[in-house]
Symmetry: C2
Subunit: 323 residues, 2 copies
Amino acid sequence: MPIATFSEKIAQTLSTINYGDEPTELYEPIRYIMDLGGKRIRPLLTVLAHHLFEDEVDKALLPAAAVEVFHNFTLMHDDIMDQAPLRRGQETVHEKWNANTAILSGDVMLVKAYELFLGVQPIHLPIVLKLFSKCAAEVCEGQQLDMNFETRTDVSIPEYLQMITLKTAVLLGFALELGAVLGNASEEDRKNLKEFGIKTGIAFQLRDDLLDVYGDAAQFGKQVGGDILSDKKTFLLLTALEDSNEMHRTELHNWLGKMVANPAEKVKAVTAIYDLLDIKAKTEAKINHYFHEALEHLEHVNAPKERKEYLRALALSLMERNN
Amino acid sequence: MPIATFSEKIAQTLSTINYGDEPTELYEPIRYIMDLGGKRIRPLLTVLAHHLFEDEVDKALLPAAAVEVFHNFTLMHDDIMDQAPLRRGQETVHEKWNANTAILSGDVMLVKAYELFLGVQPIHLPIVLKLFSKCAAEVCEGQQLDMNFETRTDVSIPEYLQMITLKTAVLLGFALELGAVLGNASEEDRKNLKEFGIKTGIAFQLRDDLLDVYGDAAQFGKQVGGDILSDKKTFLLLTALEDSNEMHRTELHNWLGKMVANPAEKVKAVTAIYDLLDIKAKTEAKINHYFHEALEHLEHVNAPKERKEYLRALALSLMERNN
């Protein structure tokens, strides 16, 4: 079965969900954000994890869709908090409607995500909802840490890794563990799949940090150096601050929080310090470290090698992406 | 057992919940809003409904607490949307912290409400979460309708009753049905308790509308005529618009949306029209109608009369409240 078949089943499932009709002001924004698309990576992880243990993937489709609905709920609320004007190139919900609509439609999306999980077999329901609720709270914790970091100047690298783990990686871990639970996998296989997801998620986020500075502007699809201009505490900046001598650290601190007339100058200056300190290679090493660990966990999962290949290929494609 | 014993058990249960620790910015607002107090009517309904069918109420305490956590989640998010400065006489969360904190802490509260429900017996879990999710979505629908009504001038009385049913009454209905489900009540008893809650909730909200105009300012604890000044589409206003002749209707419409130099004058003028049209008696009749229906549903519940007396007395106290 080509991977596109799994993706089509997921798209089909998502298209059949009826979130609700009245009042339209509440439900229309849900259909809008869900229809913006995206790569549907999380539900794909659930379905592919399930496929490791069972031939028939239909049972995993609604819970997989629930993960995607939850993910889009977090995007809707995060976009309010980050005052983001665009999402996938289109107006964000709070821009197209208003913040109140984005708050309330988001709330009902979280409820709908739980409702979709109610479709799992009763035997799996308690564990699925326990794992999901833990993950959902952690994603909120990650978003809170991310906001806290904006005004902090003493963020450590371990703190940063913890933040991206909570904000981004645990949901990938949950998506995979969910598929394993529904496929009646062993405790050990569940844990290995979860760790595969978490480590892949961390590597994925670090790669995002890297591409923001060293990516190809045209392919990356956003302004190169955006993180530098917004003084974002990325892995690159935190590593640079840690590895630099007194002079470079002072120079970096001088750029942080500075209103600049010429943005390109700031990007160029900070990138020059990164280059001096070999930050690109150090970040790549860290990415490879996590990605290698992720693949080791997948390696240990007791499932047919050809089925695990789907997940390995998907993780690989995430790492090689240019956007 | 005096009713205070049930209340104490609920207070005790709520005080032992650990919502989470880190980051404190996320969890502190939850403790703050939960500690603002309130009469804990909803969890009391759950426990009293459960007590109709079982002597031991301990099993109902955590789910009852979940209802209260959910209720406070809706308050936290509604207060952002309504830009309310105060809640129970204290600063609202978005005022004390900021809107982002109130959004995110609210989100995690909704997750925590679901987590608390996971403590019910596995046999009850699917139905409890199905009923709760339906109710939670309805509460969001009610809030959306309430916001829609702010800018509409053609709200009908049935639409208004539908809005308060969703925004306020269904949660009381769910709280009661929850207790019944946990007490293994019959389908019929469940439905009657639910309807008792919904009808009581509608009567309660109509009484709130009435007290805003005809309440004792000192006892009511808020400005008399606040709804008139904010042009709120209450049962009183909608009934007045429906029952008035051309002249009074024009006069009412002239006051709506009018910026007034002298607020007391507007309150006095609108109240005078209400008096002419006998709106107080008409509202009281509607309240009595719903309250009577509520008590009929309670009457039909197959449970010891002396146990049902707790619920009757509680509903009565809600109707006679001056604040």
